[in-house]
Amino acid sequence: MGVSVDEAVSTGPVRDHTPPTRRFGGRGRSVLEIALLTVLAVVMLFPVLWMIETSIKENRDVYAIPAKFFDFTVTLDHFKDVFVASGGRSALSVSFLNSVVVAGVSTALATVLGVPAAWAYSRFAVKAKKDQLFFILSTRFMPPVVVVIPIFLMYRQFGLIDTKLGLILIYTAFNVPFTIWMMKGFVDEVPAEYEDAAMLDGYTRLQAFWRFTLPLLLPGIAATAVFALIFSWNEFVFAIFLTSSDDVRTAPPAIAGLIGGTTVDWGLVAAASVVFALPVLVFAYLVRKHLVAGVTLGAVRR
């Protein structure tokens, strides 16, 4: 999920608020800064721009040499092809639907499991709490690729290969530790006294959590869920190893599958990629404030 997160928490607007340092002198530095940022922006954004352009070009313009930057006919045919095939829905649209289901359900599961766990770790004196939390975090230390083969073998035993349930379970497993850690920070920020006061007012501990702490945690939950959603949505390695049929496949392997035939319909690939990238951008935009809050968590005392 690295790239998406970096985009979401882009330091651009934040940097504007920091007073310029005097090291290089005011004007000279800002010129240099703007120049470097421009170069960086062009390098970073050009592939995105090219993807968008390709998705709305006609096929002959896609392959035109020299490449056409501005002077081409705009068409939405590729986008139509993403969703509709001759005689019904396209295979890609099924993949997108699968992605929505898998990412949505795994995020919901991770949230439902992770938030109460985070609350418990924050509020109660648990035996060897630090060790437990470290152990939970440690499951995220290794790259997922490392465990693909064992998990593949395990899934084959349990009949989870090529099922959406299999993907949901593995994504949940990866998101729960993350949810616990991020939510624990948010729970720590909500004073435990609210729950104490509610308990003195006649509520049980769980009611106190549900009625008073949970509403205050909603922004944090939203931010955490978006991170989990982006991870599940973008995940490629497990998806390509553990699924094969068109009915089960999520969008990332499906889009990758478009490349590799005798001819590659680059227009379709680009359009599918745009459709794939949009939800993540929209979500990240909606909760951008909390994303920054999540990333800088603990840097500022309440």
Binding site: Y194, D196, A197, L200, G202
Partner: protein, 355 residues
């Protein structure tokens, strides 16, 4: 209203930390009882156990005649005020006050009546329609107090309620709480680490240290005869001078020659320390009557008084409280004279009061 009995309270957390080693308290009906101690001494845990927010590992708690060990907080008929005021952020003052009553299921008319009464007592009229965010710290604490009042509980539990307020407001609220408790006559258990608060508020003070009660007594008892070296060092600002003494010819004699009247029943052949309050000593001109030689190390000019730190027989931290009119320069040779009565005497090895 009811008294509170805490018997052999012990609290050990699952991670092995012992917050309360052994605490016995007998708090009278209508008493304002202060638990005083440094952070980590177990005072807050004891209070939370009384409230039912923590379950003690062993020991009994009675409120009135009821054994409350297994009762949830709501059924103990107590109200608690927290250091962080814990007003529900989404509710206006009026609803914050009404909340515990509605939770009890009281009829609307009575809720309104009780809220108005509490608001009048705490002078909250203009604040009733505001949310906590729009109240100052002092106002929030007044609302929190009112929120405790409306329940008409059998006892109030106060967990460092004034710590977050600035000094001036704190003094005002202190007076207000004392007055309120006196007027209502409700038992109040008040936890603080601030000795001034404890001395000015409490009918009785319990000094806690490392999960044990070091001393229980009225403010004057606690000040005059601290029960242990810990209490002696904790109460008073500056704290009591602890001067090593020997028993000789029926007198207590310090290394520097200061002679004190021994209390009766003093044990022999033990290492003893006399506790002498800074105001029980006097800095004089060198060679004055009944004085022993000393030297001024430094002086703190506090306006209404001067605290002299003097070197007396090698002990360089003897503090003496003097009126601001008596002035000696630093390093000046002076006399040191004991003007108080019989000092408290402690055994160095047990750290406890021996006579």
């Amino acid at each position: 209203m009811a008294g509170i009995e805490v018997t052999a309270l012990h609290k050990r957390y699952p991670d092995g930390t012992v917050a309360v080693e052994h605490v016995d308290l007998s708090i009278g009906d209508g008493e304002l009882f202060v638990m005083l101690g440094p952070s980590g001494c177990g005072k807050t845990t004891t209070l939370r156990a009384i409230a039912g927010l923590e379950r003690q590992t062993t020991g009994d708690i009675h409120i009135g005649d009821t054994l409350v060990n297994d009762l949830p907080p709501a059924e103990r008929d107590i109200a608690m005020v927290f250091q962080f005021y814990a007003l529900y952020p989404h509710l206006r003052t009026r609803d914050n006050l009404a909340f515990p009553l509605r939770a009890e299921g009281l009829p609307k008319a009575e809720v309104r009546e009780r809220v108005d009464e509490a608001a009048r007592l705490m002078r909250l009229g203009p604040l009733l329609n505001r949310r906590p965010r729009r109240l100052s710290g002092g106002e929030q604490q007044r609302v929190a107090l009112a929120r405790a009042l409306v329940r008409r509980p059998r006892a109030f539990l106060m967990d460092e309620p004034l710590t977050n307020l600035d000094a001036e407001l704190r003094a005002d609220m202190r007076t207000e709480i004392k007055h309120l408790q006196g007027a209502l006559g409700t038992t109040m258990v008040y936890v603080t680490h601030d000795q001034v608060e404890a001395m000015s508020l409490g009918h009785r003070i319990a000094i806690l240290n490392k999960g044990r009660v070091e001393q229980i007594g009225t403010p004057l008892e606690v000040y005059d005869r601290p029960a242990s070296l810990f209490c002696a060092a904790f109460i008073g600002s500056p704290p009591m001078n602890l001067i090593e003494v020997e028993v000789a010819d029926g007198k207590l004699r310090s290394q520097g020659g200061l002679v004190l009247t021994p209390p009766p029943g003093l044990p022999r052949d033990r290492c003893l320390v006399a506790g002498v309050r800074p105001e029980a000593l006097e800095v004089t001109e060198p060679g004055a009557e009944r004085s022993v030689p000393a030297r001024v190390v430094s002086a703190e000019w506090l306006g209404d008084e001067i605290i002299y730190v003097v070197d007396h027989g090698g002990q360089r931290d003897v503090r003496v409280r003097m009126p601001p009119t008596v002035r000696f320069a630093a390093d000046a040779p002076v006399g040191l004279r004991h003007t108080g009565g019989t000092p408290a005497v402690y055994d160095v090895s047990t750290e406890e009061l021996v006579a």
